[in-house]
Amino acid sequence: MKAKIYINYKDGILDPEGVTISKALDTIGIKGIDGLAVGKCIEMDLDCNTRDQAVKVITESCDKLLANPNTEVYSYEIMEDK
């Protein structure tokens, strides 16, 4: 089982990297972008037997270390082995 965890700034928190990259794309002539956010993507290999167990591991990891609840939010997707 694998998971992808996405961590982004909360709404209202300045994302200076996002602003800089957005301006750079505009500078090189790429139009049609109305906002851009830079976050982190963490890929995790899980040694879990059930999806519930995986969710528990992921949320505990995010709540305790991976995301800062003051400034960040997280989401995740779980890919079960075929």
Binding site: I13, L14, P16, E17, L65, L66, N68, N70, T71
Partner: protein
């Protein structure tokens, strides 16, 4: 050594993998204040013998994930928490401030500078509260000079927390010209009990004329005069 004998004060400088201002802090405490100082490796957890704890600047654990995020799980943090509960003086400088914020010993967060650049320069600070263990040698509103050197020093707190910091007089220092986007120009804050100070500027790098400023030494002298 005279001061140490009078005060019998002992100071710990915490060392994490990646700390790089530990020797500066040690030097200031030892040579200028004449107190007994030890480096304490982060894997230890016993700080009972120390009256003052300095968490120095640097890049603990390479600033991976977020600055200070991994260091807060080191063994030493239990010793720092317990020292805090006993009311001992704890000062976190730069990365030390980031660790204190990540560990929840100080409120808020330190995010990337609004310019996205690493900023290394001398700045001017206003002493916003001189009624503390760390700032009593300054006059209120005194303007002082010391260097900053950071990329994640942009202090963030929501409106509710900012009001709380103001109401409790927890704002220690504010930038005269905000270099990084910090809310309310905040450069340093205390905890509610005011025995913990976290600040992004480097007082240990402003302790001798040859370094361009001596304004930082008063923080260490303030601590010394109170213990």
């Amino acid at each position: 050594m005279k001061l140490w004998k009078i005060n019998n004060m002992k100071c710990a400088v915490i060392v994490f993998p990646g700390s790089n201002c530990d020797h500066d802090a040690y030097y200031v405490a030892k040579k200028h204040l004449g107190i007994e100082v030890d480096f304490v490796w982060h894997k230890n957890s016993d700080l009972n013998n120390y009256d003052c704890i300095i968490i120095p600047g640097g890049f603990s654990y390479g600033d991976y994930l977020r600055a200070g995020a991994v260091a807060r799980f080191s063994n030493i943090m239990s010793g720092i928490k317990s020292a805090s509960e006993k009311g001992k003086a704890i000062i976190g400088i730069c990365n030390g401030f980031q660790i204190l914020v990540e560990s929840g010993l100080l409120p808020g967060a330190l995010i990337t500078n609004n310019s996205t650049n690493f900023i290394s320069k001398e700045i001017q600070l206003k002493v916003s509260n001189n009624n503390s263990l760390f700032t009593n040698k300054y006059t209120e509103q005194e303007i002082i000079r010391m260097p900053i050197a950071h990329k994640q020093g942009n202090y963030f707190a929501d409106t509710e927390l900012l009001n709380e910091l103001k109401d409790n007089n927890q704002i220690a220092f504010q930038y005269k010209d905000n270099p990084n986007g910090s809310c309310l120009n905040i450069a340093g804050i205390f905890n509610k009990q005011k025995n913990i100070l976290g600040m992004m500027p480097h007082p240990e790098r402003a302790a001798e004329h040859i370094l361009g400023s001596q304004d930082g030494i008063k923080i260490f002298e303030s601590i010394l005069s109170n213990i």
